[in-house]
């Protein structure tokens, strides 16, 4: 048992905080908002120099073989800084698909490039079905490959990526998935930028107008694809939880600081119990979310039998906590909290954008419940 970070993890966190404080301040985020620069390649290069893209890639492919907890420490700092850009979609959502299901050839060709920061990738997870008149993606099979048509929605940094990973869910059997890699310069791809509440993370609709894909671009066998995707998504949920908690933490710190210093009726507002207890609620929420996240990281890393439940638990909780904390923290700031000038809205927007990042949030609790019933339903009392 060891329920604390090790020296190396503390170091990762400290250095990341120092770096992001300088390179990704809230002024920088505001510039992103004002200019709508989607992606700052200079910043990306500096992150490459810190080996951040290589962190969780296996040693044999130019990576550092770090574990999920190490990565979560870094993601927490990125969440604090609201780092814009395709880090999460490359490192958490798509590179692991190769690690879990890629052939030797696919891995040795792509992973070193991702580790070097040369290649940016993303995952087009959500079918656009139900959004306006869109249809989800469909696959036609030919002797020499596939053709994809239809649309995917809320795809992070699709236009900035070099390769998009596209899971195609089979129409009659959702447990069957074909995961394809599509180069973004392939003919027939169209990217439509989406205007979302959180400008610091960019999303697109991706339309596939009969896009051809070669058989070599399939990841994993179709029967294994569900498991591959589930494993990757479990780890991504834990990573997103870490990001959420980082954002929630800094919002709490601002709110508490404000409560200690803002004086009304001759006293700091933090001495009023109604405010004080809301601050306590923030702390309760965040400490809980943090330990769930580290537990889930450990469970996934060690393939415990509750790893999926643990990941869903940490993810769902962190989404709710991030939303609640940024709401209360905004409130504690009074009218200042609702100004453009104040940072609270930046975090609040990220909280709401993250709610949709890995799928429709509403469906996650029933999914967790099913997972728990499977896990514990016939355990002995």
């Amino acid at each position: 048992m060891r329920i604390e970070l090790n020296k190396n993890q503390e170091l990762i966190g400290r250095e990341a905080r120092r770096f992001l404080h300088k390179e990704c301040s809230s002024e920088f985020i505001r510039e992103v908002y004002d200019s709508e620069t989607v992606f700052d390649r200079k910043l990306w290069k500096k992150m490459v120099a810190l080996d951040w893209m290589a962190l969780n890639i296996p040693e044999g492919y130019g990576g550092l073989n770090a574990d999920l907890t190490d990565l979560c420490v870094l993601l927490g700092e990125m969440g604090r800084a609201l780092l814009p850009g395709p880090y999460f979609s490359t490192v958490l959502l798509s590179a692991p698909l190769l690690m879990e299901g890629g052939t030797e050839k696919q891995k040795s060709e792509l992973l070193p490039k991702i580790a070097d920061g040369e290649m940016i990738t993303t995952l087009a997870l959500h079918d656009a079905k139900g959004v306006n008149d869109r249809n989800g993606v469909k696959l036609e099979r030919y002797s020499d490959g596939f053709v994809i048509s239809g649309a995917k929605f809320l795809v992070p940094y699709a236009a900035e990526a070099d390769v998009i990973f596209v899971p195609v869910f089979h129409e009659n059997d959702q447990s069957m998935i074909t995961i394809l890699m599509v180069k973004t310069d392939t003919e027939g791809l169209e990217f439509r930028p989406l205007s979302t509440i959180d400008v610091s993370r960019k999303f697109y609709e991706v339309q596939f107008h009969s896009v051809p894909v070669s058989p070599e671009s399939v990841i994993g066998r179709e029967k294994e694809s569900r498991n591959i995707l589930d494993r990757v998504m479990s780890r991504a949920m834990v990573g997103l939880a870490a990001e959420n908690i980082g954002g929630a933490q800094i919002a709490m710190e601002y709110a508490i600081d404000y409560a200690k210093n803002r004086v009304q009726f001759g006293k700091p507002i933090g001495s009023f119990q109604a405010i004080k207890h809301q601050c306590a609620d923030l702390k309760i929420d965040i400490d809980g979310a943090e330990i769930l996240m580290y537990y889930a990281a450990w469970s996934c890393e060690n393939n415990m039998n509750d790893s999926r439940a643990a990941a869903l638990t940490a993810y769902i909780n962190s989404i709710e906590v991030f939303g609640r904390v940024t709401d209360i923290a905004t409130h504690i700031h009074g009218a200042l909290g609702v100004t453009w000038e104040n940072d609270m809205h930046l975090f609040y927007k990220r909280a709401w954008s993250n709610r949709y990042f890995l799928g429709e949030f509403k469906k996650k609790k029933p999914e967790l419940a099913d997972c728990i019933i499977d896990l514990m339903g016939d355990e002995q009392l």
């Binding site: 048992m1 001495s271 004080k276 609620d281 809980g288 439940a309 609790k365 029933p366 355990e379």
Partner: protein, 396 residues
């Protein structure tokens, strides 16, 4: 990070598990309609067997009746014995096992240790905590039960209230006022009182469940030897606080094991009700409640593991332990609410008739849970502690 126990410790767990199964073989029933006396005698029998098996007082020295084990073994024992502790009403003596025991061990004289510790561990004596008074609840330091020193005895006069299981107890942990001091807590002394002493009257209080586990205790010229004092005169407050954080940290582990058991029971009942009602586990609003409950239970469980880890490392949990006290109380509320709302129109049925679910266990639990966000420091008090002592916000 690593949330698991070492192989050696898991070995210990396996051995203990086997021992518990063979020593206490019967399945439990749910309805709890036993009298306090019946509960007390079941507890004594259970505790005696633990003692004889070498599973009582794991971390205490053999010379005092303990097992000379490690803190980790103590934690594992708490986890594994949790279902049995419940079945045999070990909470009748929670004051003995998790207050008197560590307090006497840390602050008691050699004489006191020898007189009391083994008798707690082998199930002979039951203890009660008598801190609260009618006018000293959350503001415990304002207590006023008077203790006048006459030679080498204190003479006690006044009243205590809300003392759990005092009617079954042999000894009481009693905070008394020995000085009208400022600040108020600097005039408090900690005494061990034989509850069978002359001048003591114990009156049970009927609660919302219909049971009477709480008591008033009246003290009318009760003599207590100065030898029964824990720590120095007027320094009882420090003694009282000394053991609380430690115990709460360890107790979280046992509570987490209990919640897990309750969760499995709830799930089992839900699956059984699916056949009877045609919906429950397939109902999306139930699924949402179940997920929420599981999430909160996991927060409590993981935070409990973390404080156990800190204790093993030698760090006594600080004011953050209030977080788990709060979650613990809320979880009790949410467990009973979830379990009752899945019962369809049988929700209000509280007996063991053909209509009822789990023999009315959850309905009783619903009412019992209300007190848990008051006892041991209420919600508001815990939040004050978190805000002021953890976050550093100014005092009100």
């Amino acid at each position: 990070m690593d949330f698991s126990f070492s192989e050696k410790n898991e070995h210990y767990r396996a051995r203990l598990k086997g021992w518990l199964k063979t020593t206490f073989p019967h399945e439990k029933s749910y309805r709890d309609n036993k009298t306090i006396e019946e509960k007390a005698s079941l507890y004594r029998m259970y505790q005696k067997k633990l003692f004889e098996g070498g599973y009582a007082g794991i971390r205490y020295p053999k010379s005092l009746g303990g097992a000379d084990g490690t803190l980790t073994e103590e934690i594992i024992t708490m986890e594994e014995t949790a279902p049995y502790a419940r079945r045999f009403f070990q909470n009748v003596n929670v004051a003995g096992l998790s207050m008197a025991l560590p307090t006497i061990f840390m602050a008691g004289t050699q004489d006191q240790k020898e007189s009391y510790i083994t008798n707690i561990l082998d199930g002979t004596h039951i203890w009660a905590q008598a801190f609260s008074e009618p006018n000293a609840g959350s503001d415990l330091a304002s207590l006023s039960l008077s203790a006048n020193k006459e030679n080498d005895v204190y003479v006690l006069n006044g009243q205590k209230i809300w003392s759990s299981y005092a009617q079954a107890a042999d000894y009481g942990l009693v905070l008394v006022r020995t000085l009208n001091s400022k600040p108020k807590h600097a005039g408090i002394t900690y005494l061990i009182v034989d509850l069978k002493s002359k001048g003591i009257t114990i009156r049970p209080i009927k609660q919302n469940t219909g049971n009477s586990e709480l008591n008033e205790i009246f003290f009318d010229d009760v003599s207590v030897s100065v030898k029964n004092r824990l720590g120095k005169e007027n320094e009882g407050w420090k003694v009282a606080l000394g053991t609380l954080g430690f115990e709460r940290g360890l107790g979280d582990v046992r509570d987490a094991a209990n919640f897990r058991m309750l969760f499995k029971q709830l799930l089992k009942t839900a699956i059984a009700l699916e056949n009877r009602q045609g919906y429950v586990v397939t109902d999306s609003s139930f699924k949402k409640e179940l997920a929420d409950l599981y999430i909160k239970m996991m927060v409590h469980r993981c935070l409990g593991r973390k404080s156990a880890y800190q204790i093993i490392k030698g760090k006594i949990p600080g004011p953050e332990s209030s977080i788990n006290k709060l979650l613990w109380a809320e979880l009790h509320h949410e467990f009973s609410e979830t379990a009752i709302s899945m019962q369809g129109l049988a929700g209000p049925i509280n007996d063991d008739s053909v209509y009822s679910v789990d023999m009315g266990f959850w309905q009783n639990y619903l009412l019992m849970a209300l007190g848990l966000s008051i006892g041991g420091g209420g919600t508001e008090i815990q939040k004050n502690i978190i805000a002021e002592r953890v976050l550093g916000l100014p005092r009100s």
